[in-house]
Symmetry: C2
Subunit: 232 residues, 2 copies
C-alpha cells in the first residue's frame, strides 16, 4: 500500500492552518546558462499525482513561456522552491527535475535530463491529458490575471509605466468573447501560458515554531521516500 | 555628488511602511558544485557602504560557516536574493558577487572571482575593520539565537528531535559568562559565525500593488546605476 510522503502531509496540514491562510506564494530558484542563481516569487497552484501513486506527487505551477526563467529552466531543468510559512514558522524546500508543458503550437523544449521523472512518466503512460490540464488550469485564473499572458514580452524594455494601461486589462471566460480582438487576446494568452511540473526528489522541512527547532530531510530513492532528522 | 541608488531608497521606504513591519526575511539563492539551484529563507541584517560612497551599498547578512550554503557560495560566489514584501506587494531581487567574512581563526575561502566588488574593495582600502564588524554583529544577536552557532554541524544527521534539548540554549553577553563551559560555547559560536557581503550589481523591482503593475531594472556599470522600465 503506497501512501503520500510524510512531507506532503505535513505541508497540507500547514496550509490548512488558519495562521497560514494567506501563504500561497513561494520562491522558485533556477540557474541561468552562465551558472548564476535566480529566484522569484510565484504562486502555488496544486499538486497532482499519477493514479494509484500518492507517493509520487508533482508540484504544478504556471508560467509565461516568454519569461527569462523559462530560458533558465531550459539550460538547467532542475529547480528548488523555498516555501516559508510565516504563520506556523516553518519552511519547505522542495527540489527536483522540472518539465514545462506548453501549448502544442509552440516549441518550448524544457525536459529534464537523466532519470528522476517517475511521476511525470507514469502520468503520461496512464494517458494523462496534459493539454486539457493546461487549458483547464488557465480557465480557472481570474480574468485580469489571464490578461497578463497577452502583454508584451515580459522583462523587455518599455518607455514608461503607463504603457501598461494600453495592454488588455482582462480576458473574458472561454466562449464569452464579445469581439475579434477579445478572441485574439485569448489565443495569444493561451499560446504563452504553460504549466511547470516539478517532480520532488528532495524535501527539506524546517520548523522553527517548535522548541527545540526541528529539521527533517526527505529523499526519494526510486519510488520510496526515506526520512532523516537533521541538525537545524 | 553621488547618491544612494533609487532601488535602495525604494526598499528603505517599503521597509518603513507599517504594513511591511514584519517583513524582515528574504530568500537567498545559491548554486551548488553540480550546478543545481538552492534557496532558503534568511534574515535581513543591514546595508553598509564605503565612506562617501552611498552609491555602493553592500547587503550584510550572517551565516554559520559549517552550513551547506557556504560550500555552495565557495563554488559559486555570486548569489541572488528575492525579497517579497507582502504588505505593499512588491518584490526586490538583488544579485551580485558575494564574500564571506569569517573568523580570522578559520579558513573559509569565499571570495568573488573577477570584477564587481568595488564596494567591498573600497571599504577594505578605507581600513574598514571587518573583524570588529563581525564581532559587533554577533553581539547584537539575542542570546538564544547566538547559541545556534554552537550546535553540532548544521544539516548533519541526528537520532531524534530531542537531541536539540542537550545543546546550549542561550549564550551570555560578552564578559558575563558564569563558567568555563559558557566561555567555550561563546568561543565556538564566534568561530562558526560569519558575515555574508552581497554587493548588488543588478536589482529587479516589481510592484504588483500598483495599477498597472510596475517593473524597474537597475544595473550597476562601474560606479553608476542605470535604470530601465520593463514589462512586468
Amino acid at each position: 500500500m503506497v501512501a503520500a510522503p510524510n512531507w506532503l502531509n505535513a505541508l497540507s496540514l500547514a496550509l490548512a492552518l488558519p495562521e497560514n491562510k494567506s501563504q500561497r506564494l513561494y520562491q522558485l530558484a533556477t540557474v541561468d546558462s552562465k551558472g548564476l542563481p535566480h529566484a522569484r516569487t510565484v504562486g502555488y497552484v496544486d499538486f497532482l499525482e499519477p493514479e494509484d501513486s500518492p507517493n509520487l506527487p508533482i508540484l504544478l505551477g504556471m508560467t509565461d513561456i516568454r519569461t527569462p526563467k523559462v530560458g533558465q529552466m531550459r539550460s538547467q531543468p532542475y529547480v528548488e522552491i523555498c516555501w516559508w510559512l510565516s504563520g506556523s514558522r516553518e519552511q519547505f524546500r522542495i527540489a527536483g527535475p522540472l518539465q514545462v508543458v506548453a501549448s502544442p503550437n509552440v516549441d518550448v523544449d524544457v525536459v529534464p535530463k537523466g532519470e528522476g521523472t517517475l511521476a511525470i512518466d507514469k502520468l503520461t503512460r496512464q494517458g494523462f491529458d496534459w493539454e486539457t490540464k493546461r487549458q483547464e488550469t488557465f480557465e480557472r485564473i481570474p480574468g485580469p490575471m489571464k490578461a497578463t499572458w497577452c502583454k508584451p514580452q515580459p522583462a523587455s524594455v518599455i518607455g514608461s509605466y503607463d504603457e501598461g494601461k494600453t495592454w488588455p486589462q482582462t480576458l473574458a471566460p472561454a466562449g464569452e468573447e464579445q469581439s475579434e480582438e477579445e478572441k485574439q487576446n485569448r489565443e495569444t494568452a493561451l499560446k504563452n501560458f504553460a504549466l511547470t511540473l516539478i517532480e520532488p526528489v528532495e524535501v527539506d522541512w524546517v520548523q522553527v515554531g517548535t522548541n527545540p527547532h526541528r529539521r527533517t530531510k526527505f529523499t526519494r530513492n526510486g519510488e520510496e521516500w526515506s526520512e532523516e532528522i537533521l541538525v537545524p
